[in-house]
Symmetry: C2
DNA sequence: GTCGTTGTACGATAGACGTCGAACTTCGGT
DNA sequence: ACCGAAGTTCGACGTCTATCGTACAACGAC
């Protein structure tokens, strides 16, 4: 007999030390993904992919969240049929101190109305 | 009769207020361009394109410098046959405070041997 | 003027990227 | 068992991008 948590579908995440700057910058350079990150930074709890109201199809949505996950910017785990998304603030701050906050502040200045 | 400075070939640069975050992030997400920016940040005076010793052809070089210029990251002006490149530190800091320094610090942490 | 240096302009090309729709999987609820 | 909700997978598509080589232009030096 197996516990529920051990049977959860698995998603690959880079370790904290494996997060690469070029990947992070590339991931944040897309308007849709930057919007996701801004929304997540403003939220107080993990959000499902569908909760962002993105102006793209479901498959494109999947694509963007995978890019963010593989860049090490977000953590994803299954919760029933949904996928909960979480900003990897600690890891990002440890690897590239201040970078996330700078980008968020810059984004706020660049287009205040998210 | 026209003065020399007025006859210089002109390059288009975005105004300080026109610098867009997505363009900046996209420009910095390329290894060759990030290396250029790091080298320029470490230099104390403007450098010609050829002085960076980039591992790409001349035409590719021209391409990368144009991307950086159009993103508002560098300023370019002709000096004889050469083009001098200069980091737009002031404009970048004014538009996106701290961003450039964060990225430079992150790059130093990501690959210390430039 | 001629020549070498420095960079630009112009295709061309191969690969990456953002986007979609249709079919499928997984899970919770009834 | 069935159905609907939430994502994923799998092509397919057009566009953007990084790269190159060749030909060309601007300038300094001789």
């Amino acid at each position: 007999m197996v516990t529920r948590t051990a049977r959860e579908r698995q998603l690959d995440h880079p370790g904290r030390g494996e997060i690469a700057l070029a990947d992070v910058l590339h991931a944040l350079a897309d308007p849709v993904r930057l919007r996701v990150v801004r929304t997540m930074a403003a939220a107080d709890s993990p959000m499902a992919c569908g909760a962002f109201g993105l102006p793209v199809s479901k498959s494109t949505c999947t694509h963007h969240f995978r890019v963010l996950r593989e860049a090490g910017i977000i953590r994803q785990h299954y919760r029933g049929t949904a996928v909960l998304n979480d900003l990897r603030r600690d890891d990002l701050d440890a690897r590239f101190p201040g970078l996330l906050d700078c980008v968020l502040a810059a984004a706020a200045g660049d287009s205040p109305a998210q």
